[in-house]
Amino acid sequence: MPEILKPDLTDRSAWDRVAESQPFKDLMAIKRIFIIPACLFFVVYYFLLPILVGYAPRLMAMKVWGNVNLAYLFALSQFFMAWMIAGLYVRAGDNFDRISKDIIDKVSDLDFTGDQ
C-alpha cells in the first residue's frame, strides 16, 4: 500500500496527508526551483527598461545600428525574453505534470469525497 494511503489515526485530513507526503514535497521543490528564479529574472529585466528609459535617456538614445537605438533594441529583446521563459516553463511543466499524475494515481478519489 502506498505511503499516502496508510490509515491515519490523527485528526489530519486526507489533504494534509498528501501535503505532507514526500512526492508532494518533491513536486513543490522542483516547482519552486523553476518559478521563483524565473519570476525574479523577468521582473528585474522588465523594470530595467522603464527605469533606464526614464532615468538614463541619453544612454538609451545611443545609436547601435543605423538609426536604431539601444532603447528600441532593449524593448524588442523583452519580447524574446518573455517567449524564452515561456518555452522553458513548458518544458519544465511536463515534469510537474508527471509528478502530479503520480500523486493523483496513488490516492483514490473516494478518500476526498468527504472533504469537498
Binding site: 522603464p50 527605469i51 538609451m60 523583452q78 518573455a82 493523483i104
Partner: protein, 534 residues
C-alpha cells in the same frame, strides 16, 4: 452601401450564426459559464488573445506610437511581458482550484460570503469601467468609419451593446469564445498584411524604414518640427515622466493577471496543463502582434503623417488611414471591420465575466448561501444580468457622449485589477497565514486607493484651456493632487499592505487548517472540475 458597412454586416452575420449554433450546445451551468471545459489549448490561446487585444491595443497603440513615438511602444512591451505573471503564477492554480470565477479560489479557505461579495464588487467595477471605455470608443469609431451612411454615435453604441448582449445571453461562453477566436484571426492577418505593405513601401529595407523614423516631421502649435521618433521622452516628460512610466509598468505587469475577463478563460479548458499551453499560444500571438505595432505606429507616423491624421479623425484613426494610404478604400474598409470585430469580442468577454461573477458569486453564494433554489437558476440569473450589464453600459455610453475623456478608464481597470485582485489571489494561494479579514481588507484597500488616486490624478483633475469644453475636458478644474496618471506604484503596495495587515491583525485558524487542501488542489489538480463528456 459602403465597403465598410458590407464587411461589418458579414462579420455580424457570421457571429450571429455561431451564437445560434452555440445556443444549441451550451447546456447546463458548466456549458454556459465555461463552454463545457472542452475548449482545446490552441483555441483557448487564440481566444485569450482575442479577449485581450482591445480597441485600445489596436487603434490606440498605433495612434500613440504615430503621435508620441517610442513611448507608445512601452505599452506594447508591458502588454506581452504581463503574460509571464499569468503563466508562472496564476493560470494553473486558478484552473485547478476554481469553478467559474476568481472568487472560487479565494473562498476555499475563507468565510465565503464576505470574500465573494468583495470579489464580485471588484470584478464588476473592473469590467464596467473597461466596458464603458470600449463602448464610448466603439461609438465614436463606428460613427467615424461609417461616416455618410447615416449611422451616428448613438446608433453605433446601441448596435454594439445589443450584439454583445445577444452573444452572451444566447450563446454563453461558447459563442463568446468563437467570436474571440475569429476576431483574433482577423486582427492578426490584417496586421500582418498591413506590416508587409509598410515594409514594401520602404522596399523591404529596414535601414530605410528606421531611417525615416529618425526624422518625422509635423506641425506643433503652428511650428514645423522634426523629431527622432525612436527617442524616448515624447509622452513621458520630466519631472514625473520616469516615475509614471515605471508605475505604468507595475499596472500592466500585475494587472493583466487580475483581469476577470482573462481569468475566466482558463476555466474553459479541460485541465491545468491545457491552461498552461493556452497561455503560451496566447503569448505567441500577442507578442507577434505587439512587435508589429512597430510597423503600424511608425508606419503611420512616416507614411501618413501626424498632420494628416489630426485632420482626418485623430490619432485613433492612424491604423485605418495607413491602410487607406497603402492599399486604398477596400483595405481601409477591411481594417475598419477588424477594429469593429475587435471591440465586439472584448465587450462580449467583459459582459460574460461580469454576469458570471454576479450570478455565481453574488446571487448564488452570497445571497443564497451557495444553493440553487431550482436547477438552472444560476444560468438564468447570469443571462438576466448580462442583459442588465449591457443595457447599463449602453445608457452610460450614450450619456457620456462621443467626446468624453474615457482613456483613463482603461488605466483604472488595470490599476484595480493589479491593486485589489492580484494581491489577494497571490496571498490566498501562497500564504498559509492569510485569512478572510486579510482578503476583504486587501480588496477594499486596493479598490479604494486605485480609484481614489485616479480621481485626484491628472486624468480627472487639470486646468483646461478655454477651447476645451464639456465632457472632453477635465472633470475637476484644478491642479492635480497626485502627479501620476498611473497609480500602480502606490496602490499595488498598499493593496498588499492592506491584505497583510488585515491577516496578521485577526485570527482565523480554520483558514490556515484548510491551506493544505488548497495547496494540494492548486498544485496537483486533485479534485479539479472535470470537462463535460461529449
Amino acid at each position: 452601401m459602403s465597403a465598410s458597412l458590407t464587411m461589418f454586416l458579414l462579420f455580424i452575420a457570421l457571429t450571429l450564426g455561431i451564437t445560434y449554433w452555440a445556443s444549441k450546445r451550451s447546456a447546463g451551468a458548466s456549458g454556459y459559464f465555461a463552454a463545457g471545459r472542452q475548449i482545446k489549448g490552441w483555441q483557448n490561446g487564440v481566444a485569450v488573445a482575442g479577449d485581450y487585444m482591445s480597441a485600445a491595443s489596436f487603434l490606440g497603440i498605433a495612434g500613440i506610437i504615430a503621435f508620441q513615438g517610442y513611448d507608445g511602444f512601452m505599452f506594447s512591451v508591458g502588454w506581452l511581458v504581463a503574460y509571464l505573471t499569468v503563466l508562472l503564477v496564476i493560470a494553473e492554480p486558478l484552473r485547478n482550484a476554481g469553478k467559474y470565477t476568481m472568487a472560487d479560489v479565494l473562498a476555499y479557505r475563507m468565510r465565503p460570503r464576505p470574500v465573494r461579495a468583495m470579489a464580485a464588487l471588484s470584478t464588476l467595477t473592473v469590467s464596467t469601467f473597461y466596458m464603458i471605455a470600449q463602448m464610448v470608443g466603439a461609438g465614436s469609431l463606428v460613427a467615424l468609419l461609417l461616416k455618410g451612411s447615416g449611422i451616428g454615435y448613438n446608433h453605433a453604441v446601441i448596435g454594439v451593446g445589443l450584439l454583445m448582449i445577444i452573444y452572451v445571453v444566447f450563446g454563453g461562453m461558447l459563442a463568446t469564445t468563437w467570436v474571440q477566436i475569429i476576431k483574433a484571426i482577423l486582427l492578426m492577418s490584417g496586421t500582418l498584411f498591413l506590416s508587409i505593405l509598410v515594409m514594401s513601401h520602404f522596399h523591404f529595407s529596414f535601414a530605410a524604414f528606421f531611417g525615416a523614423i529618425g526624422h518625422v516631421t509635423y506641425h506643433d502649435k503652428g511650428q514645423l518640427v522634426v523629431k527622432d521618433f525612436l527617442e524616448p521622452g515624447l509622452r513621458y516628460k520630466p519631472p514625473y515622466g520616469a516615475l509614471d512610466l515605471i508605475s505604468l509598468g507595475f499596472a500592466l505587469i500585475f494587472g493583466t493577471a487580475g483581469l476577470p475577463h482573462i481569468l475566466v478563460r482558463f476555466y474553459t479548458v479541460p485541465d491545468a496543463r491545457t491552461a498552461r499551453h493556452s497561455v503560451v499560444w496566447a503569448m505567441a500571438l500577442i507578442g507577434s502582434f505587439y512587435i508589429m505595432t512597430t510597423f503600424l505606429g511608425f508606419g503611420a507616423a512616416t507614411i501618413v503623417g501626424r498632420d494628416f491624421i489630426s485632420t482626418h479623425g485623430g490619432n485613433n484613426m492612424s491604423a485605418p488611414l495607413l491602410a487607406q494610404a497603402l492599399a486604398g478604400d477596400v483595405f481601409f474598409a477591411f481594417i475598419c471591420a477588424i477594429a469593429f470585430a475587435t471591440i465586439l469580442a472584448v465587450v462580449a468577454g467583459l459582459t460574460i465575466s461580469a454576469s458570471t461573477s454576479f450570478a455565481h458569486d453574488f446571487w448564488t453564494n452570497v445571497i443564497h448561501h451557495g444553493r440553487e433554489r431550482q436547477a438552472g437558476e444560476e444560468v438564468l440569473v447570469a443571462r438576466i444580468s448580462a442583459f442588465v450589464v449591457g443595457a447599463v453600459a449602453i445608457a452610460i455610453a450614450i450619456v457620456l457622449g462621443p467626446t468624453a475623456n474615457v482613456a483613463f478608464l482603461v488605466a483604472l481597470a488595470f490599476a484595480v485589477a493589479a491593486s485589489a485582485n492580484l494581491p489577494v489571489i497571490v496571498l490566498s494561494i501562497f500564504w498559509r497565514r492569510f485569512n478572510t479579514t486579510g482578503a476583504v481588507a486587501g480588496l477594499a484597500v486596493g479598490l479604494a486607493t486605485s480609484i481614489g488616486l485616479i480621481l485626484v490624478g491628472p486624468s480627472l483633475m487639470g486646468i483646461d484651456p478655454p477651447t476645451v469644453t464639456g465632457a472632453a475636458g477635465h472633470l475637476i478644474q484644478s491642479k492635480p493632487w497626485f502627479p501620476l496618471e498611473n497609480p500602480g506604484i502606490v496602490s499595488i503596495p498598499l493593496g498588499f499592505l492592506g491584505a497583510f495587515l488585515g491577516a496578521i491583525l485577526s485570527r482565523e485558524p480554520s483558514s490556515s487548517h484548510k491551506f493544505n487542501e488548497l495547496l494540494v488542489r492548486s498544485n496537483t489538480g486533485l479534485g479539479a472540475e472535470k470537462a463535460a463528456s461529449h
